[in-house]
């Protein structure tokens, strides 16, 4: 908790995040380039799925990001609610459109993969259904921020939604174990290690890291924007009262 207090000061957050930003941008550019090269040119086609398996290199990293970001939003929301941490709720607000974007990308690439492999664009199995609910949670979260005139109340409402929806994340993760799903079971994050060849696993992990650095860069810019927006509101209110 001591380390959280360091970021509670918005000015310090801006200073520290500005120092981090070029690294995030650089890392994401390098990692995504390397990951794309390995995934598109080096990784061999799958013996069953052929070249369509290359969709994995955008589909799975996007899916991981959407769950990672939502989990971060839930933690940030709890931090904002419990400790009134002044930057936490802004971090969560800044993250939501990025997470929603990755969720949409996962749904789209998943459909494009499902059609040739499963013979269907969509199925209401546990994995896909719980994942679609994640997308609705993101949209609902973003809508709540816009639904109130008072940003404090908006932030509180959004935080509560984020926390209530957090139960969906383990449901998504374990859906392929708990229910009979068309979506395949876990092949990377399993108790006895990944069941996927390194020629696929390495580009996959590199893309995931690249997407994470991308998220880091974008959320820094977006959170700084939210911090400035709050200052603008304060200054405008002071002008009105003057």
């Amino acid at each position: 908790m001591v380390s959280l207090h360091k970021f509670a000061n918005p000015a310090r957050f801006v200073r520290m995040s500005s120092a981090l930003l070029p690294w995030m941008v650089g890392m994401s550019a390098v990692l995504i380039t390397v990951g794309l090269y390995l995934g598109l040119f080096v990784a061999p086609p799958d013996y069953q799925q052929g070249e369509s398996m290359r969709i994995i290199f955008v589909h799975v990293p996007s899916a991981w990001m959407s769950m990672f970001i939502y989990s971060g939003m839930a933690i940030a929301s709890a931090t904002g609610l419990i400790w009134k941490h002044p930057v936490a709720d802004l971090l969560a607000k800044a993250s939501a459109p990025v997470g929603a974007g990755f969720t949409f990308a996962t749904l789209a690439s998943g459909s494009l993969w499902g059609q040739p492999m499963w013979g269907t664009w969509w199925v209401w199995d546990a994995r896909l259904t719980s994942y679609l609910i994640l997308f609705f949670l993101y949209i609902g979260y973003m809508a709540l921020w816009e639904a109130f005139d008072d940003p404090q109340r908006a932030g509180k409402a959004a935080a509560i939604l984020a926390l209530v929806g957090a139960v969906n994340v383990p449901i998504i993760k374990f859906s392929v174990d708990w229910w009979n799903t068309l979506h395949q079971p876990a092949s990377v994050m399993k108790m006895d290690g990944p069941a996927i060849d390194s020629s696929m696993l390495v580009p996959l992990l590199i893309m995931a890291l690249g997407f994470t650095a991308f998220y880091g860069a974008v959320v820094i810019v977006r959170t700084q924007r939210e911090i400035m927006a709050r200052k603008v509101r304060t200054l405008r209110m002071a002008q009105v009262q003057a």
Partner: protein, 56 residues
Amino acid sequence: MTEFFHMGGYAAFVWPSFGITAAIMIAIVIDSWRGFVRERDTLDKLQSQRTKRKPS
């Protein structure tokens, strides 16, 4: 080269997957940057108005 773009017959599924993901990520970057610049300019304007009003 054409074989690469053909993706073993799955081109219609592989390339839109990459394309949609890339488009979303690019859109996020553009939106984030433009929002940042807009807010920064508004803040600078408001802060300079304040310092003008306060004779030092």
